[in-house]
Structures are given as C-alpha cells and as structure tokens.
C-alpha cells in the first residue's frame, strides 16, 4: 500500500511539473490576439529582427559546427592530463549568466581588450555593437551544446574501426573524415540544431555585447523584450512564432539529442 501511495504522490508531482512547463506555453496561445497575430508578427520591426536573427543564427551554427566538431573529437580521443579541465571550461557558457558572458566578450573584444585593441589599432575594426558581435555571442553560448553532443557520440564510436583504417594507410585526418564523421552524423545534426535553436533564443549576452539596434543587431528576442512595454499584443504574436520554431526543432529531433548519453 505504501508503494501505491508513494507512486500516486509522485504522479501528482510529475503532473504538476508538466503543467508548470506547458501552462505558460498555452498561456501565450490563449492571450494571443488571433485575428491580428499574423500582421503583428510580420510587422516591419519584427521582420527586420527576424532577418537579423536568421542571418546571425545560421552563421553562428555553421561556426559552432566548424569549431565544435574538432573540439568534440579532441575531447573524445585525447587521453592527456587536463582534458577534463578543458571540458569544464568549454561547458561553462551553458551555466554562465548570459549577461556575464556578454561582459566577458566585451572585455576581450572591447576597445581595450586583448583582441579588441589590436583589431582597432591595426585595422580600425571594432567588433562590439555590430552584427559580428551578435554572431560571436551566439557562438559563445551555443557551442557547448554541440561539443557535448558530438563528443559523446565520438566516444561511443568503435575506436577499432579507426585503428583498422590507419593500418590500411589512412592518415589521422582521413580517418576522421571517412570513419569518425559519418559515424557521428546523427549527433552532429542534433548538435547543430540545438546550437542553432540556442542562438535564435540568445538575448542576454548579445544585448550586452552587441546592443539592440533595429535592423542592425536587434534580434527577435530583443524586439520581443522592447515590444513588451510598447505593444504587448505584438510581443505575444512574435513570441508565439518563436515558440512554433522551438516546437519544430524539438519535433524534428525526435529525442535525438539524447545521444548525448
């Protein structure tokens, strides 16, 4: 009897947790001004922000993949001291407050930063408050998702196949390209999708590091944030659109990010 009762309590708590997540999502749909939603979500401001979001998040996802896949590979196949330490630092952006991430990026790429200062002095290039800054912020916060997903996938691959490839004369680079990469493809697809979704939703780091200039650095989350105080129905409409994108990403992955285990 005790097990019965305990399980009923657990069921109740589980239902509560599920409701806690689902209700706010439903709430947006309930409050949505359905008749005007389309025109509100496609206003000039929203379209500009959507275009910035789309551009930056796609570039960020490509960069995250180009940098994150080799890093995931290195983490999976290197047995040296300090690998664990590197991994800890790489996943840091996942738990770092995004605003702090923005400050950190400013401190590096700002006028007096280690990278920002030479860039400005030698080439007259200033990164903060540009669209490049939006991309950098997005890569920074999204790359851990990709690295973790591909690392665990590489780790699960049969290293014996890679040994076989090498004895057949393949260089380490060729082994990586022909044996490891195809084996990790599902995880790479899932990792890129997650990184892209995280980039689309990025707010704190970007607004700190890149600002919210309409048509230049203002992304969809930033425009929602501004609309909340000026045009609440429009904020709801844009939010609903972003929710649909999230649902699509989750649905298309069908639990495949679970390869992370």
């Amino acid at each position: 009897m005790t097990t019965r009762r305990r399980s009923r309590t657990l069921t109740l708590l589980a239902a509560l947790a599920a409701a806690f997540v689902v209700l706010p999502l439903l709430g947006v749909a309930l409050r949505l001004p359905w008749s005007d939603a389309w025109s509100l979500a496609t206003s000039a401001t929203a379209r500009r922000a959507a275009w910035v979001s789309l551009q930056t998040s796609v570039v960020a996802a490509v960069l995250a993949a180009a940098l994150g896949i080799p890093l995931g590979w290195w983490l999976a196949r290197t047995r040296a001291r300090g690998v664990g330490l590197v991994r800890s630092f790489v996943v840091m952006p996942m738990i770092l407050p995004p605003v702090v991430a923005g400050i950190a990026l400013l401190s590096v790429f700002g006028r007096s930063g280690v990278i920002g200062q030479p860039l400005l002095e030698w080439w007259g290039v200033s990164i903060p408050f540009t669209r490049t800054a939006v991309v950098i912020a997005q890569v920074f916060v999204s790359i851990p998702f990709l690295v973790l997903a591909v690392e665990s996938s590489f780790r699960q691959l049969d290293a014996g196949l890679e040994d076989a490839a090498r004895t057949l004369g393949a260089s380490p680079m060729r082994v990586f390209a022909t044996v490891a990469l195809p084996g990790a493809r599902p995880a790479i697809v899932a990792g890129v999708a997650l990184a892209w979704a995280r980039s689309i939703g990025e707010f704190g780091a970007s607004i700190t590091f890149a600002g919210s200039f309409p048509g230049r650095t203002q992304t969809l989350p930033m425009s929602v944030y501004e609309l909340v105080s000026t045009d609440y129905p429009a904020a709801l409409s844009v939010s609903f659109g972003m929710m649909l994108v999230s649902v699509l990403v989750i649905a298309s992955l069908r639990g495949r990010w679970m390869v992370a285990r």
């Binding site: 049969d158 014996g160 196949l161 040994d163 076989a164 490839a165 090498r166 004895t167 057949l168 004369g169 393949a170 260089s171 380490p172 060729r174 022909t178 044996v179 195809p182 084996g183």
Partner: protein
C-alpha cells in the same frame, strides 16, 4: 628483407615475449590458448599497440623499439581483425577500395583493384552490398580482400576461421591458400586451434 620480432608486448599487468622472423612470401603460424596475447602481438606489429621492450624490424627499418615508432598508416602492416572491423556505412566495394584510396590511388583505379580483389576471394557481384547483409564467411572474405588489395608488406590474420561455420571452412581455406600463393607479404596467421592452420603455415610458433 624479413619481418623480425623480438619484443615484449602487452597491456597493463599482462606481458609476454615473442621472437621470430618471417621472410617475404613465408607464412608463420602463431598458436596459443585464448588470452595468450596473440591478438595483442598482431596489434603491436601493426602499430596499434606499442612494444614494452625489444624491437620490431621490417626490412632493416625499425618499426618500434620503444623510442623509434613508425605510425600504423606508414607501416604497410595490414590486419585481418578477428572482429573484422568492416566499415558498416560503406559498401563492400568501398570497404575494399579504402586501402588503395588511402594510399592515394585515384577512385577509378582503386575501384578496379577492389573488384579484382573481390573476384579473387569469390565475391564478384557483391560490390554494392553492405557488410551487415552478408554471412559470416562472406564478411571474412571481404576483410581478406580489403587487406590483400593493398599489397601489404606484412599480412596479419587474426583467427580467420573463428567466425565461420564448419560448412564454409573448406571454401575459406581455399580462398586463403589462393591469396597467399604467390604473395610477397610476410604473413602471420593466428589461431587457437593448430589444426586450422597446419596446412597453411610452414612454421608454427607457440605463444
């Protein structure tokens, strides 16, 4: 012009010593109980594992003596693994063409050589198949073709009869005999059952 092994090898607390030589075209049998380190020795010759002490020399060139080490891809020591290790995502043809492609052969040339090797092991017509759609004996022959197509300096066969049922053994034996006849490779063939390799190997070393 021989493969000379005089080395202690093994992993962790496990150590064993072996000393033998194999001349070009010769076949050496290596027998021993399960767990006697036969596979580890083959992996050490191929460069997947390292020697503990001693040396492995091929044609006067040190492959591994604890300080000098030739990377596996530069050794031309090819293994037919006990667990085969066929590339699951590639067709049979691409599996066999992998070695020539890795050594820089153009695609068409590599494919032509792969077809020839497949025919030699009796698998003409299997080019487009995937490894997981083959029988144990067929997979074993793909692994053999994938190894010999590279014209290896050293051919290392790990329990080639282990994953093959009794009916397919005579056929596989013929395939191996055909492949080894006229080959210039220094061949080491490992088995836990001496009778399996008695007629293939001229000399037998017990580990």
């Amino acid at each position: 012009m021989t493969l000379q092994v005089d080395a202690t090898f093994g992993r962790g607390g496990f150590n064993r010593h072996a000393a033998f030589e194999v001349a070009p075209g010769a076949v050496l049998g290596l027998v021993g109980a399960n767990g006697s380190g036969k596979s580890t020795l083959l992996h050490t010759i191929a460069g997947i594992d390292r020697v503990r002490s001693g040396r492995i020399v091929l044609d006067g060139q040190v492959l591994d003596d604890g300080t000098e080490f030739v990377e596996p891809q530069d050794r031309r020591c090819v293994v037919v693994f006990q667990d085969l290790r066929l590339f699951p995502a590639m067709s049979v043809l691409d599996n066999v063409a992998y070695g020539p492609r890795s050594h820089g052969a153009p695609r068409a040339d590599a494919h032509a050589r792969a077809r020839e090797a497949l025919a030699k092991v009796g698998l003409a017509g299997f080019e487009g198949r995937r490894p997981d759609g083959l029988s144990g004996g067929e997979r074993q022959r793909v692994a053999i073709a994938r190894a010999v197509v590279t014209n290896p300096a050293v051919l290392l066969l790990d329990e080639p009869f282990a994953s093959v049922d009794a009916d397919s053994r005579p056929g596989l034996r013929e395939v191996l005999r055909g492949v080894l006849t006229g080959s210039e490779a220094r061949t080491v063939i490992v088995s836990h059952d001496p009778s399996d390799i008695a007629d293939l190997a001229a000399t037998v070393v017990r580990l």
